[in-house]
């Protein structure tokens, strides 16, 4: 239930709905799509990345001198959690062919493929296996499968959405592997939504020129992730799983190869070492850094640990100046502020409208454009709706979904959304959602090639932690695809590499060297990373927790 004072605005939405429904049913374009110039204007003026404080120069490491997202620069200019002298690397606690760090869908795909290519695998994770952003994706996974679609059109959408900055070899791998990725998932048992004739149900997403979004209701990420998790758990002879033990530093060898990692057990506080011939980072993104104070759609562990470890070891970042804000994050009710409202809502006909019930943007622009248009409507144009907590939002007119697709369409296709809002007494079949952009995705990351290799031998990256696939803006449904395509590639290539890899003496010298640079900047010794988990304890309580004071991180 929305508060009384919002009812007048809701009545405006209801008043304009019949005309907007008619327009939708006519098949005409709801609102003009922006030209290249219009896109530039709205991004420059309203996208959070374009604020002066959004970026600053990073002063150490492989990208020294480059302007990157301020919060990431702060995170990287820090000391290690560990003192390398404490570790006896001649006697590691575990040895394996391939070490996979991070257990979302990219890590799972990598583990399965590495195992199938003959490697022994250790998969380590900070939370339970599968507790990841992969699990939370709702709307879909792209693949050009329909007869009127092709990987060529998909390629064009990917790089247009990414502002033509994507690494071409990565965009090619993404779109060309896509149909086989869907087939692989289907054969593992993912229940994609089908038409009666067996063809896949597909919907449009922001910035796609064909309906290319494959879905499993609005639990697409969950359906994929839990299937892969089950498959990983079915291979105990090849894949060993270590849960609640985040990696906190990479280990290298005397020839400069990456050769494993140091783990930290979150419950008994013990550190462990793993020696590995190849290491895959599938650690995900940085939503829990709350860049520019934004709420986030991301899970609790999304603290960019992989970036820190990889960067400290000497791998370079690409497009670390670009942050994705999902256009539709919930802003009301209070308990779900920042939560994801899937793009599939708009794919199925929900329209964004302002406080007067007017359309003000084409509903399916690429995410950065759409988000910027929402911010413009709420700020410069003053057409937002204010919540009791003081946040602004615009309406996403969801009852239209039922009117366009028939009664029951939301329950059948968007059960997660119906449930999420229903828990807090908003019925989205009858009332619109109140939304505003929310911190969603790390567009850049550690640079890879189409074998998922970084410039450090033995170090591979897959999924959100990597950079280059999506340029400076990812489209809906290409992240789920990225996890599978590059997860599988990383697993395959890492296993092949491991067959011929001979490791020298293990060391953590890169940690000493990096810390020397940090010290020169005069940074407080208390600033350490990776963050591992965010800290939401109130200041007043923290003051009395005398022994837990490492800044911005877990003790």
């Amino acid at each position: 239930m929305y508060p009384e004072y919002m009812q007048e605005s809701i009545r405006n939405v209801e008043k304009t709905r019949p005309a907007r429904l008619k327009l939708a049913k006519s098949g005409k374009q709801l609102f003009p799509r922006m030209s290249a110039q219009e896109r530039d204007v709205v991004l420059n003026k309203f996208h959070p990345d374009y604020k002066p404080e959004a970026r600053r120069e990073i002063r150490i490491g492989p990208n020294k001198g480059e302007r990157i997202t301020t919060k990431v620069a702060e995170l990287l200019e820090t000391f290690s959690r560990i003192n390398p002298a404490d570790f006896d690397l001649d006697h590691p606690d575990y040895e394996t062919d391939v070490l996979v760090i991070g257990a979302g869908s990219a890590g799972f795909s990598a583990s399965i493929l590495a195992a199938e290519n003959g490697a022994n695998v250790i998969l380590v994770t900070k939370l339970r296996i599968g507790d990841s952003n992969s699990m939370m994706a709702q709307g879909g996974i792209q693949a050009a499968v329909r007869p009127d679609d092709s990987p060529v059109l998909h390629y064009l959408d990917v790089i247009g959405g990414g502002h033509f900055d994507n690494k071409p070899e990565l965009a090619k791998a993404l779109v060309c592997d896509a149909p086989d990725a869907i087939k692989w998932l289907q054969d593992l048992g993912v229940m994609f939504d089908r038409n009666p004739d067996g063809t896949m149900k597909t919907k449009s997403g922001g910035g796609t020129c064909r309906p290319r979004m494959h879905s499993a209701r609005d639990y697409t990420g969950a359906a994929i992730c839990r299937t892969l998790r089950d498959e990983v758990q079915n291979r105990p002879d090849k894949i060993k799983i270590l849960e609640h033990q985040p990696a906190v530093e990479l280990i290298k060898d005397s020839n400069g190869r990456v050769a494993g990692a140091v783990l930290y057990h979150l419950e008994n506080k013990e550190y462990f070492t793993i020696k590995a011939k190849a290491t895959i980072l599938s650690t995900g993104g940085f939503g829990r850094l709350h860049i520019q104070g934004f709420e986030t759609t991301n899970h609790y562990g999304a603290t960019a640990d992989g970036l820190v470890m990889g960067y400290r070891a000497g791998a370079n970042l690409l497009y670390m100046d670009s942050v994705q804000y999902h256009p539709t994050g919930a802003v009301y009710p209070l308990q779900i502020v920042g939560f994801l409202c899937t793009e599939k809502l708009r794919g199925m006909g929900a329209q964004p409208v302002n406080k007067n019930g007017e359309l003000f943007v084409y509903p399916l622009e690429p995410r950065d454009i759409e988000a910027s248009a929402f911010i413009r409507e709420c700020t410069e144009r003053g057409n937002g709706i204010k919540t009791p907590a003081g946040n602004l939002g615009i309406w996403l007119d969801t009852p239209l979904i039922e009117q366009i697709n028939g009664a029951g369409a939301i329950k059948q296709n968007l059960p997660a959304m119906l449930r999420q809002f229903g828990r807090f007494d908003v019925d989205i079949t009858k009332e619109p959602m109140l939304v505003y952009p929310t911190l969603h995705y790390q567009n850049g990351g550690l640079e890879i090639n189409d074998h998922c290799e970084t410039k450090l031998p033995g170090l591979y990256v897959a999924g959100e932690a990597s950079g280059g696939v999506h340029g400076r803006n990812r489209l809906m449904g290409n992240s789920q695809l990225d996890l599978i395509v590059f997860g599988r590639r990383a697993g395959r290539y890492a296993a092949e590499y491991a067959k011929g890899a001979k490791l020298g003496k293990l060391n953590l010298d890169h940690v000493y060297e990096y810390e020397k640079e940090v010290e020169k900047l005069g940074i407080d010794r208390k600033k350490i990373s990776p963050m591992v988990l965010p800290d939401y304890i109130p200041e007043a309580v923290k003051k009395r927790q005398y022994t837990t004071h490492y800044e911005g991180t877990l003790r």
């Binding site: 799509r33 290249a36 599968g130 507790d131 952003n133 699990m135 939370m136 499968v145 060529v152 390629y155 790089i159 247009g160 033509f164 070899e169 090619k172 779109v175 149909p179 086989d180 087939k183 289907q186 054969d187 593992l188 048992g189 229940m191 994609f192 089908r194 067996g198 063809t199 896949m200 449009s204 020129c209 309906p211 499993a216 209701r217 639990y219 990420g221 299937t227 089950d230 498959e231 758990q233 079915n234 609640h244 899970h299 562990g301 209070l334 308990q335 779900i336 939560f339 994801l340 009791p388 907590a389 997660a416 999420q420 828990r423 939401y536 304890i537 109130p538 309580v541 923290k542 009395r544």
Partner: protein, 228 residues
């Protein structure tokens, strides 16, 4: 605003803490000074990591829910469950049949269901858990897959089941068997995979990869958009 300031008392490990009335169990624990390392995950009701048992003031009943989706009430007793040590049999999905036999072998406990409906009452996703267990007993795998579709593997069904059934793990097997064996295959998908393997699109994509930015921009903005 006034509503946000309202405080309630909740009991964590038996100790009373004053927290904002709008808190969920997770944010209430954090407000009280607990930094959670287990029993917490996505914080949006999608991953099932935060299964919780709680008791409300004046009530004898233990209730089940997701800590990130349950708003606290005054006098509530709360605790977090770090991990559910439930059984998960090992199998090769390519060697199973999509019928009752797979469950007889791998999940014989489902046949012990006493129809008490405790699992359904415990499910924070409002899934008809007992109905999908009954569908498995009857050998209707596709129905079990459909009914269990929204499961997020919190494990509360198994924790509360008096017959020791691991419903949520049996559910994933039902869905995998359905997805792999029972749903119709897409002819378009098979064809497209074959075309790509034969290199049908390589030349066109490689041409785009070499096209300069201005030209490719033009192609992008002029492309035909078909909605669906």
């Amino acid at each position: 605003m006034a509503k946000d300031q309202e405080m309630v008392k909740v009991y964590i490990l038996g100790e009373g803490f004053d927290v904002p009335a709008s808190s969920t169990i997770i944010t209430a624990m954090e407000y009280a000074g607990f930094q959670l390392t287990t029993g917490v995950g996505c914080r949006e009701g999608f991953c099932g990591a935060c299964a919780t048992l709680y008791r409300e003031k004046g009530d004898y009943k233990l209730q089940a829910g997701l800590a990130c989706q349950t708003v606290v009430s005054d006098g509530m007793y709360i605790a977090q469950i770090p991990f559910v040590p439930a059984e998960k049999p090992i199998y090769d999905i390519t060697k199973l049949t999509p019928d009752i036999n797979s469950f007889k072998t791998l999940y014989p406990t489902v046949f012990r269901c006493v129809s008490c409906n405790t699992c359904t009452k415990a499910c924070p996703q409002d899934i008809e858990v007992m109905d999908y267990v009954q569908a498995l007993i009857k050998g209707d795998i596709a129905k079990a897959a459909d009914l269990s579709f929204d499961c997020i593997r919190c494990g509360l069904c198994a924790l509360r089941c008096p017959a020791e059934i691991v419903q949520y793990n049996a559910g994933i097997l039902a869905r995998r068997l359905t997805g792999r064996y029972l749903l119709k295959k897409s002819p378009d998908l098979e064809l497209r995979v074959k075309e790509i393997a034969e290199g049908k699109y390589d030349k066109d994509i490689e041409k785009l990869m070499k096209t300069n930015k201005e030209k490719i921009k033009k192609l992008y903005y002029e492309r035909e958009v078909k909605l669906g």
